[in-house]
Symmetry: C2
Subunit: 506 residues, 2 copies
Amino acid sequence: MASRDKAKRGIPSKEDFNLWYPAIVEIADLVDKRYPIKGMDVWKPYGWKAMMLIDGLTRAEMDRTGHEEYNFPLLVPEDLLEKENKLVSLLKMAREQGVDPSELRLDEDDAGFKKEVYWVKHAGENELDLPMFLRPTSETPMYTMFPLWVRSHSDLPLKTFQIVNTFRYETKQTRSFIRVREIHFFEAHTAHKDQSGADAQIKEDAIIVQNLLHDLCFPALISKRPVWDTFPGAWYSNAVDVVMPNGRTLQVATYHHYKDQWAKAFELKYEDVNGETKFCHQTTFGMSERMLGAIVGMHGDDSGLIFPPKVAPIQIVIMPVAEHLDDNVILKVKNIAEQLHSNGYRVRVDDRDIRPGAKHYDWEIKGVPIRIEVGPRDLKSGQFVMTLRTGGKDSHDSNLLLEIVSQAIGDIESELRQRSSEHMKKFVVKFPGITETDNGWKLNSPLEEGKVYEFAFDGNDSHAEILEKATGLTFLGDCSEPYSEPQPCVVTGKMTTNKQHLARMY
Amino acid sequence: MASRDKAKRGIPSKEDFNLWYPAIVEIADLVDKRYPIKGMDVWKPYGWKAMMLIDGLTRAEMDRTGHEEYNFPLLVPEDLLEKENKLVSLLKMAREQGVDPSELRLDEDDAGFKKEVYWVKHAGENELDLPMFLRPTSETPMYTMFPLWVRSHSDLPLKTFQIVNTFRYETKQTRSFIRVREIHFFEAHTAHKDQSGADAQIKEDAIIVQNLLHDLCFPALISKRPVWDTFPGAWYSNAVDVVMPNGRTLQVATYHHYKDQWAKAFELKYEDVNGETKFCHQTTFGMSERMLGAIVGMHGDDSGLIFPPKVAPIQIVIMPVAEHLDDNVILKVKNIAEQLHSNGYRVRVDDRDIRPGAKHYDWEIKGVPIRIEVGPRDLKSGQFVMTLRTGGKDSHDSNLLLEIVSQAIGDIESELRQRSSEHMKKFVVKFPGITETDNGWKLNSPLEEGKVYEFAFDGNDSHAEILEKATGLTFLGDCSEPYSEPQPCVVTGKMTTNKQHLARMY
């Protein structure tokens, strides 16, 4: 029966993650991909609710840390880009040539930015005098306004964020939540008096990330990206990578230290306590619907999704189990639902007139963490039956409902955290080493497909290039958790605590 | 002192509403209009918070009535418009020629729709094969998907909504919240088995509107728009008009009965219980940031905004009043804040080291409903001083804090409702009548600028045209509250209970 139900719904085995993922996001009714623009899905209520719950966790963290929510226009006039283009070109050339950016002259057409945006050049029947584009991210619109708001040191720090739709003209293959063309996006932008203010913000961002990962019940690799993979205009970029079940890493968050680089381009200055004019130091922090993609990928199984309780659109489904309609059972089910609802749980009663097995599979697919059933016999014995989506089914005393459910929520979270950290251990393995031969650098043993390789590294950019070429994988950057004891660098042999990962990134 | 503070902040008198309104939305920090695209303001945190609280009331009503929240893509491929264009042209021509729409042949270029949208014809460096536009509203994207979701009667009713950004290429003068080019928009779209299902939905929408108006503390004129002012594609349109302080009406909500007209254009069909294929009947319901514009306009005064408590970003500001820093006073202030916060109020402590007068003016401008002050003397007597933004200042027993505040919130709401209904009575006046002379129709007495005229009407379209021409005003349509006793129609003299209004609309 079970396998027939599953087959009917067409869930592939999660072993074949590249089939399973696109199937489950539609079978579980998170999105509908049949909208006639590739990479622009329709969010169905169940998926949108999950996303709003994730946003809710983010907003709570923003509130805790004194960020305020703004909402900037979607459209950006092209001429505002000039400052940004200058900055990006400047930094790129400075890096390439190893010189001070201020000594460089700029070619305005240098920035690659324009290749990735949707353009609005027409409105009604008119061609616009000045083309506009749909924001891919909001540095330009925001930093156009910041200098109007920041005048003196008392206006700082300025801690802003917004949750908006952004757009990227993707030419690669699109995937729901992971690579889309309209992106549900969170971005925080801050301005500070000096570098140490921005440093402190980066530390705060790291804690916010940890809090969110804790609530979503999965671990991530946090790395300072290599210079060549730093966000345009950033001094340095930190990235949060989740290791998905196919071994690919998914960048779900980034936070960047901008130093005063953008501030100089946008003339974001303030008067300090001594009346001197100084440039602000800035940071940004971005996350997106990829977080939901990570939840789907990390926690789901062959039977469907498993939602971490904090962001489960339905936390508990309650169903009567009786051969015939039994008013007392229905009453008990409603009473349990009411008790849980009034204690803040997101609850659904399923009293559809279909086989219990069919209901079970529905809610399994949708990843509802807890299922409660009550039948005539349970009613007599003053009990209810509770099944956890992570496994386990037991009868419990009805009088202890709230304690039992609260405990179960905690148990499910612990179980998900344990599973995902085991998953990570399975996927992140030691790099086999590399040796220089007469025919160039050779791996000491062949690599496995779908693994992330960890190793000590103390080389320079050309050593990194050797590794990327030999493996076909990408450097994630300096890991935020270095080795406790120095290890030999895999290329130079020098002792170092610097930990690196090579991975295939989404 | 008071007048100096006000003068400094540059609040014009509300008597001159057309000066006051654009000034106060910036002085109270709801938006910043300096973004370099006209009609696209930056939402500041205070304004955005108010808007999100309004959205919260809307979502609660949607939840109560079983609507589910979706999120559709912003971009719409041009070819999807074909069906809509056909429908709109068809209905327009049918109306003009008084014939059955199904007998008409269509000119594809007829629809005026394309004149009001922003076009995306380029992405990156490519010209797109198929142009897309930014949604001005979502009939087309939604009704493209609905037929994929509705198959049988058991899929109905389908009750959907979304809260999203929409775009209109406005060529008229823009005004914050009232006429903008990026619109924060709510839209509900429903599909039903038959006309009576859609009829019931229209009734439900009317109740939702009343609930929202109650929470926002102002009345509105609700009218069934005349045929010539019906939304394209609708069978009929109901509109909710607020009478603003300059006497102009602001349409803040509309709900439309589509019958099966759109369903036929988009082939939205279902199989009924007897296995017969039928077309759905549909409705839509739209609201926007205009609701915030109405709050600003209806409740504000010469000192600034007055927020109805339900959507006040800060409901209560609490401040210590002491010549010197007094730890006990600070402690008491924090204690009051904590009590109120844990009872669900939105609270702000203002312990800035500036004159109390300056603080008062700040919070008056921002329209915070309740101000609580505690000084050393209050502390001794176990009291606090409470000032209502609508007027009134008194000392109260600290032990009764929660009762007093709860009562005050109710009092402020009642006061606002009374003020706005008196305002409406002042602005909505009896039409002086009109007489046919040898030189055409003449008003019996000249009209006053800035009034809405009410009258009984039983004429036809050409009678209505006579009235619009003679007055230079616009018909709002059949009022939802007709006369209790028949009155003579102002043109034909026939007795009727049909009530109409002529107004200058925003």
